[in-house]
Amino acid sequence: MTPTYYLLLSALLFSLGAVGVLVRRNAIVVFMCVELMLNAVNLSLVTFARINGELDGQIMAFFVMVVAAAEVVVGLTIIMSIFRTRRSASVDDSNLLKY
Amino acid sequence: MSWTLIALLLLPLVGSVVVAVLRRSDAAAKTAALAFALGELVLAGVTWVAYDPASTDRLQLTSSVEWIPNFGVHLSFGVDGIALVMIALIALLVPVVIGGSWADKLPEGRTAGGFFSLLLVMQTGMVGVFAATDVFLFYVFFEAVLVPMYFLIGRFGGPRRQYAAMKFFLYSLLGGLIMLASVIGLYVTSAETLGKGTFDWATLVEAMRTADTTTQIWLFLGFFIAFAIKAPLVPLHTWLPDAGAEAPVGAGVLLVGVLDKIGTFGFLRYCLPLFPAASKELAPLVLVLAVIGILYGSLLAVGQTDMKRFVAYTSIAHFGFIALGIFAFTTQASTGAVLYMVNHGISTGMLFLVVGMVMSRGGSRLIQDYGGMAKLTPVLGGLFFVAGLSSLALPGTNSFISEFLVLIGSFPTRPVHTVLATLGMVLAALYVLWLYQRVFQGPLRGTALVGVAGGPGAATAPEVGAAREVKDLGKREIAVLAPLVALILVLGVYPKPVLDVITPSVGATLSEVGVTDPVTAQEGK
């Protein structure tokens, strides 16, 4: 199996995540889509590491995972605090700021 | 290193600070402002004497200090004859304006100190524009002078002052920014030809001589648009009637009398010498705009119902004459144009002031609210008439000589334009005399003069009603107008002192463009 397929899969997952961010309305789901994008990138990184025959890409994937975990902490805090006020995590309800 | 120009720049600035500090006491602030303005007039006199018209130096009284070495920007000042007469005009008009605005009713909450302080800041800016010999520095003054004028109109002006101030600022700023593109382009071009970029005017004139015509045309257009907005040439003039009408009278005098001359001065100092090939290429276009300006301004002046807008439109016509003279490329026409710049400052300044005096008595800007005013205020009527005659260029007044020089100088190269421009003179007689007749002649009438309580037709109804108490000119007002009247008459018969200063510089400018007078060219054959 050529590594190219993994790259295509990664691109597909990334696109799915990106489309999800744009069309989904629940902040948690939007956030999960962002996580999907990050993990799609991880797949690319390890694939490229494999193609290039070195470990750098794999190490980078670990960095990305740590960053993603930190992002989850911060992100869920923010979403939680607004959810407790509004009893809703829909991004459509966040409409006080516009124009 | 000559300190006269630097003193000319700093004195009003110091004055404005002093006046701003004293603003709580009206009398002290006004006296201080007048004292500084008169001091500046004396300094300008010293400068005039120090300037040597016979010298072959292109720029005199020069001084230069490095400012931003990274781009070769210098704080350099110097004057030629054209700049000198403009600086003298400023120094003359500012005390007149301060005297004229002495007893102005200001909008609520504004102080005379604030007004005069801004006027003095403006004076520094205007002197800077004419005295700068570094293109970057010129640009800085060109833009900086907008700010005090903006506040003068916006804070002290008439009912639509916000709109007028905004329009004035945006028009000028847009022009200025387009010019900035050209200033940068000029710098880059000089860096390409000289190896190191410079803003020094004299060096740039040399460097640009070899630039190709396309580059010249683009750079010319950037400068030209900015100056055409300032001087108002016709398609870009619409801010002037609004700004002129809403500005307080004092600021209006400086706006039309001096600030707009930056445009025509810019044609002479920057457009022509820096871009000679482009100037020749585009002169026909400018001349058409100039002639349109003369006719359009005159026709609209005839139709005005508002006296201040009337003055603004007459100025548009006069600026047409000045542009015609500059771009006709003959010594006579250009000399006439520069003289016209001075004379227009004097006569339109006076016209603005007398209109202001009429308004301060009647409380209205509309012509229809007045009638037969000469019966109540014969002295004001007489002086209004003098200002009007000067504006229509009656022989014996100052404007006649300049207008005559422009026309006679333009005719050999541009006969058609000249003939059309002459129509403007005829219209000028019409609009001035008709205005005078409506406001001052005939039976006493008009809501502004006759105390009638409203009602339709009130403007015309009572022919000899109970006239409101309208005082004639006081001593202060006469003292303010006296120097202007004197200049109108003296320059009308003996313009030689001014012409002596102007002519060598105009000749130098035209030789930088590389044109020779057609008459001498024929003689040479």
Binding site: S44, L97 | E143, L173
Partner: protein, 522 residues
């Protein structure tokens, strides 16, 4: 390379050499940020505020001193340290100094407790907005002092970001600077719903953009086999590898960077977040994030993508034009001061981009100068915005600013000056900044772009003038806002910003010299 071969090499692994002198400023800031977290844990509530403020200010001064000492005898061409992960060269030193100075001003605004009793930050972020407890805490004098460690972490991230010499370090730094900012946005004392909403928006869009950045990193890694900027440059210059990877990677990477710099059309978060965030945080974001983001853009474009300039330049022309026009035109329709300045920052981002894509020494020094000048002007402007208040907190609606000059001539005068600087009127730093950036662009053959930029500046001037008109030429509303008498902190911050704006307008030569002192090292 298999795992066994890797392990075989393990005994050769050595810790990389660290030039401690060069990275001392960053280490001081990050170390202080950790200490600041400990302060939160161990100091009693009454001591925290004073402890944190003192720590933060000492940190900035110490870091600045370390920077000055290092800059005194730093190698002319710069140095690479931490096995090439960080590059410390003249532009980086300039950016670090800028960031430290701007953070100093921001910390002063953040620490102020006199304008709003208790400070601009919420006393207990856990309390739900709109409840009884929430109304009670609005009157409390305390604040969540966590903003100080968060600010220091963000600052540390920014400093690493501008010095990062490989894309992975850059990504980590990007997250280190962003995550604290997301939290700080949600901590306003008043209008907490707006504030939390701003935090959510900023977080979701920021994370989205980070993902783009990261995917760009991955593709460039695939293209060049390395994430070092120099390796990418070498690969782009001399190979016939797949251009698809290079340009897709470039595009995604740049989208992530442009998002952080709030360049239109990637500016969607800017107005909302600027409006909703507590004003001192907005000031910090507007000034420092902009500097950091453009520092990163300059380095990435200047080193990694210099060779391919002619391929991408057209695209960034379009982006710059879009940003300038979006900022200028949408700014016209705003009725809120903070949103208006936000759109102005989008327009300014466009101007900065014009300078950034001129990959010449003049372009670099011009953009650096512009960043410094703009940062101080906007910092002071937000400082002034925080002073104009009514009973509900800050009065940011433009109509409430009518006649301000009558109530408080000094504040109105300072704000007018700052607006004129933003509009680029001569004798302010804004004009010199525009001049250096645009002349660099013209020199590099981008005259049409400069003409568009100048037209956009003229349009943008309109909305700055509108505020001046309101303040000076309109009559004040009877129930209009009052201007708080600022405490020492805010006064110092505003004065600092305004004075630097003036000084750089009158005497820019020395800063221009510093900004032009050297080039990037890679």
């Amino acid at each position: 390379m298999g795992v066994t071969t890797f392990l075989a090499q393990a005994d050769e692994l050595r810790a990389p050499a660290v030039d401690y002198g060069a990275v001392a400023p960053v280490l001081i800031v990050l170390g202080a940020a950790c200490a600041s977290v400990l302060f939160e844990a161990f100091l009693s509530k009454s001591q925290r505020w004073i402890g944190q403020v003192v720590l933060a200010l000492i940190t900035l001064v110490a870091s600045g001193t370390a920077l000055a000492i290092y800059a005194g005898d730093a190698p002319e061409q710069g140095t690479l340290t931490l096995s090439g992960a960080l590059a410390v060269d003249r532009p980086v030193l300039f950016l670090w100094a800028t960031l430290l100075l701007l953070s100093f001003g921001s910390i002063l605004l953040i620490a102020d407790r006199s304008v709003e009793p208790g400070g601009a930050f919420v006393a207990e972020a856990g309390v739900r907005p709109g409840t009884v407890q929430d109304r009670a805490q609005a009157a409390k004098s305390g604040m969540q002092t966590e903003v100080f460690p968060l600010t220091l972490f963000a600052l540390g991230g920014m400093m690493v970001f501008v010095a990062a010499n490989d894309l992975l370090t850059m990504f980590i730094a990007l997250e280190v600077l962003s995550l604290p900012l997301y939290l700080m946005c949600g901590l306003a004392r008043r209008r907490r719903l707006l504030s939390q909403e701003a935090a959510v928006k900023y977080f979701l869009l920021g994370a989205f953009a980070s993902a783009f950045f990261l995917y760009g990193v991955a593709l460039l890694y695939g293209y060049a086999g390395s994430v070092k900027l120099a390796d990418i440059a070498a690969a782009a210059a001399g190979t016939n590898r797949s251009d698809t990877l290079l340009f897709a990677g470039f595009g995604l990477l740049v989208v992530g960077l442009l998002f952080k710099a709030s360049v239109g059309p990637f500016h969607a978060w800017t107005p909302d977040v600027y409006q909703g965030a507590p004003t001192p945080v907005t000031a910090f974001m507007a000034a420092c994030t902009k500097v950091a983001a453009f520092g990163g853009i300059l380095r990435v474009l200047g080193i990694a993508f210099e060779a391919t300039e002619w391929e991408w330049r057209g695209v960034l022309w379009g982006v710059a034009i879009a940003s300038m026009l979006i900022g200028a035109v949408l700014g016209l329709t705003q009725t809120d001061v903070k949103r208006m300045i936000a759109y102005s920052s989008v327009a300014h981002a466009g101007f900065l981009l014009v300078g950034s894509i001129a990959l010449t020494p003049e372009g670099l020094s011009g953009t650096l100068f512009y960043l410094l000048a703009y940062g101080f002007t906007t910092l002071a402007a937000f400082g002034v915005v925080s002073l104009v208040r009514d009973a509900d907190g800050e009065a940011t609606h433009l109509s409430q600013w009518a006649g301000l000059a009558k109530r408080s001539p000094v504040v109105a005068g300072v704000f007018t000056f700052l607006l004129l600087a933003l509009a680029g009127i001569p004798l302010t730093s804004g004009f010199i900044g525009k001049f250096v950036v645009f002349s660099a662009a013209v020199q590099d053959g981008m005259a049409p772009l400069v003409v568009v930029a100048l037209v956009a500046s003229a349009v943008a001037a309109f909305f700055y003038l509108r505020v001046i008109v309101l303040m000076y030429f309109s009559e004040p509303a009877p129930d209009g806002p009052t201007v708080s008498v600022p405490g020492a902190f805010t006064t110092v911050a505003i004065t600092l910003g305004a004075v630097i704006t003036l000084v750089l307008g009158l005497w820019p030569a020395f800063v221009l010299d510093w900004a032009g002192a050297g080039a990037f090292i890679s």
